[in-house]
Amino acid sequence: MQFPTPDLVSSHRLLLITDQLPAPADFLLHRFLHLHLKQSKTAKCIVLAVSESLERWKSVALKANTNVAHSESFQFIDVFDQHPPSQNRGEGHTNKISLKYIYDLLSVKLSDSRTNGQIPLVILDDITSLEWLGVSLLDLSRFARALRTLCVKMDAALVVRHHIVTPPEPDALLQHLLQLCTYHIEVRPLASGRSGAVSGEICVHLGPSMKDTNEHVISRTSALQYRLTESSAVFFDKGTSTGVL
């Protein structure tokens, strides 16, 4: 059993990955990166990082035998390291995050990588931390819209991670993201609690604007379960894990 199916991550799509504290989706982001870079030597991936550092991305990728340290195909933008050229030093907000600047930077990087015909993959990890750090909901929803439009224009695939803190009630940011997304990949802990054999389950839902299609959809009732291993994860249908049987 493989996840994701080959063309889930494709251009003009916004994939929203939501996870919860007991079942984080880090492994999925690293897996997307690994699969994307494996496709071809010229494949490109740009990570807009908010919560994890470059060292961590490198070390996890190394475990999966993806060499990102020296390769040009992996570009890392640390959202907090980017500052727009000092125009208003006098105002004193030098460490305020400028989303527009990040957007411009990404735009430049994407247009640079446009020539070789490969679909670039953009991963925003994660948008919730930006909200927790004080960026307003309005700015974030506009940033998400702008990212989506940019990736559609540049034929890129966009993956955005969002943490769910209140599972049964979607917060305002999640509601905005749900409206925008093409597919919603939901990583959930098992309803019955922690287990050694199964780390959690994955569902894939259609975004609201999509036409009816069964492609890639995994409903909650037939969710795919996974178990984390040393370097990645193992996927299986419900009840078929060797540990469970």
Partner: protein, 346 residues
Amino acid sequence: MTLLSSIINNPTGLKPHQPLIILQSSSAQTCYPILRNLISKFRPTTQTLLFCFLHSPSNLTNVDEAPNIIAFDFTGRIPGYDDLWCGLQDEILARINSVPPGSLNVIIDSVDTLTSDLGSTPKAYKFIRTLLGLVTTRSEPSILALHLQPSPLLELLTQTSLSPTLMHLTAHPPAIMTHITSAYLTHPPPAGPAEKFWSVFIPFSERTHESERLVYDLDGNGTSAGAWVSKGTREFVVEVLIRGGSKRGVERTVEGWKGDVPCELQALESLKSIWTRRKPEEARPDPTQNVSFNLNLTPSQEKSRAQVPLPYAHEGNPITTSGAILYDPDSADDIDDDDPDEDLDI
């Protein structure tokens, strides 16, 4: 033919004419399939202007195949990221004014996005009011269709001061009907009385967080796209409200949507369980029948039982007419006959 299908097949055909159509989605259930279907059913002779703020026009219509539909992709016009966004209102008004006289359909795919871009609800309301004015003053019946999510603007748009006539379509997840049936014991008409149903349904559905909970909780299906049924089709429930139509006052019904067509509520597969009535309870089975041992007493056993003295100590004493508690204290009891409330002076 359901009310919803008559609206979609011929939106300008209702008498009297209804220029304003509001399609309401929520995080619990999207209304997009209805909007898509409505656009596909527009007559080729009617000019249509589609203004898209949230999703690209290709999600709603096949732009190449419909020459009468002019689509405007405003998804990139985002304040702070595009300098041209501030002229949007004038651009839209100019486009509408430039359409030759005749029937016109104007569609805005996300009014709440437009409101957040304009920055204020009153500005958005004024703009919609202007749009509606342009649409209603046309020589032929024309329509303004607005798609939105619940927001403060929705309250203003449904007021009679904006438009005395209104067609309001709201999408609900099928889970809302099963929940109302099981938790409130209220079935939708015709299985139950209509007044009772509406008195429960309207307040419940207005509390959008309840519907969201039904969908996103552990038991819900976790998606706003609708309930998946066999053959890869989605279903959901549609609440249709028509104000100022052929019937006086407000006409309200609940219907269904399956795949890309409207249908009756009874035709929804995910709601089959609410129509079957519970069978009347059968007589309880007698537990003393069909056991492998004899539970009856022989006459001699009955006689022996009757001779067993019962432990009630006061049996045989005449029953006192007034109720009395006969209590024999044992050695551990500390009985004091004084009245403990003697010194209470009320």
